[in-house]
């Protein structure tokens, strides 16, 4: 990835640090927690992504077949990445991840399973991930999003992301976080 990525001057945060629990707009009790590294949670995420509607894929992820979902999850659930999961009981309803890009910044992605969309989970999930990242000393986060994905762009703007690149198929957006590590 390019080293000359631009980040906003304004600093966002502090954000809530997981665990976070709340009742969503459909009266479901949702708990957001960091991924615990267990096989059970890994499998719950595989199940979530296997149920994912292809229309909600973004730039090729999540992959379509279970074997490829597993390979993809193995890379982003590795120890150098930060992951939070939104739980409805034992069901993974959403997942958000920070993947280091080789410099000091991280790429972010967020996925919410279709029956759990438009219930306020995405906002909590992304804020929890940013708080979790900031508590690990991560201050620079970027993402790319397809420009027609207005719901996602609105969410990213709401939490403080600014558009930093618009010359490609996708928009690039970035955020600068207040360091929340002790």
């Amino acid at each position: 990835m390019t080293a000359d990525r631009r980040f906003p001057d304004d600093i966002s945060g502090p954000f809530e640090v997981p665990p976070v629990d709340f009742v969503d707009r459909d009266d479901r009790e949702i708990v957001i927690e960091p991924y615990d590294g267990s096989e059970a949670e890994f499998d719950a995420l595989v199940e979530m992504y296997a149920d994912f509607d292809p229309s909600d894929r973004a730039q090729g992820i999540p992959p379509g077949r279970e074997s490829r979902i597993r390979t993809w999850l193995e890379s982003i659930l590795s120890e150098d990445c930060l992951n939070v999961i939104a739980w409805d009981g034992d069901t993974a309803a959403g997942h958000s991840t920070l993947v280091p890009d080789g410099d000091e910044d991280c790429e972010l992605a967020i996925f919410v399973l279709q029956p759990y969309q438009e219930a306020g989970i995405g906002t909590h999930l992304i804020e929890s991930l940013l708080g979790y990242g900031a508590s690990h000393g991560i201050t620079k986060v970027w993402l790319t999003v397809e420009r027609w994905n207005h719901a996602a762009v609105a969410l990213y703007k709401k939490v403080g992301f600014e558009t930093t690149g618009a010359e490609s198929f996708e928009l690039e957006m970035a955020i600068q976080l207040a360091d929340q590590s002790d």
Partner: protein, 122 residues
């Protein structure tokens, strides 16, 4: 089929090379490989040519290998249209650390502007 493969030195273009050569062997394609300038890599052209030669050396194919200078997208479109190619093949995408696919500017230009069929190898 008369096929023009553009390769620049990204990982994606090596995947495209392998796939296109394999297909040409089976389908009997008339294959031309254009080595172009690539964004974001400083791949050495001689080294690229070596990779191309070794990819085709085990086959019976007679492949036209060319060096194309200048803006890769417009050059590939120009060659394909002026020389009667049926298809342009590109490995024009990279993946982000997250695994998101990003289509590079050469591929974007070719997809939008080519009058011949384009295959993007992922």
């Amino acid at each position: 089929m008369k096929v023009l493969l553009g390769i620049g030195g990204t990982d994606g273009s090596f995947g495209a090379l392998e796939r296109t050569v394999d297909r040409a062997v089976v389908a009997g394609d008339d294959l031309t490989i254009a080595i172009v300038d690539s964004e974001g890599t400083d791949a050495d052209r001689d080294e690229l040519e070596g990779r191309v030669e070794s990819a085709v050396s085990d086959t019976e194919l007679s492949v036209d290998i060319r060096h194309v200078e200048g803006e890769p997208g417009s050059k590939l479109v120009d060659i394909a249209e002026s020389e009667g190619f049926d298809e342009i093949v590109l490995g024009g995408s990279t993946t982000s650390p997250m695994g998101k696919i990003k289509i590079n500017q050469t591929a974007e230009f070719v997809l939008l502007n080519s009058h011949v069929t384009v295959t993007l190898v992922r």
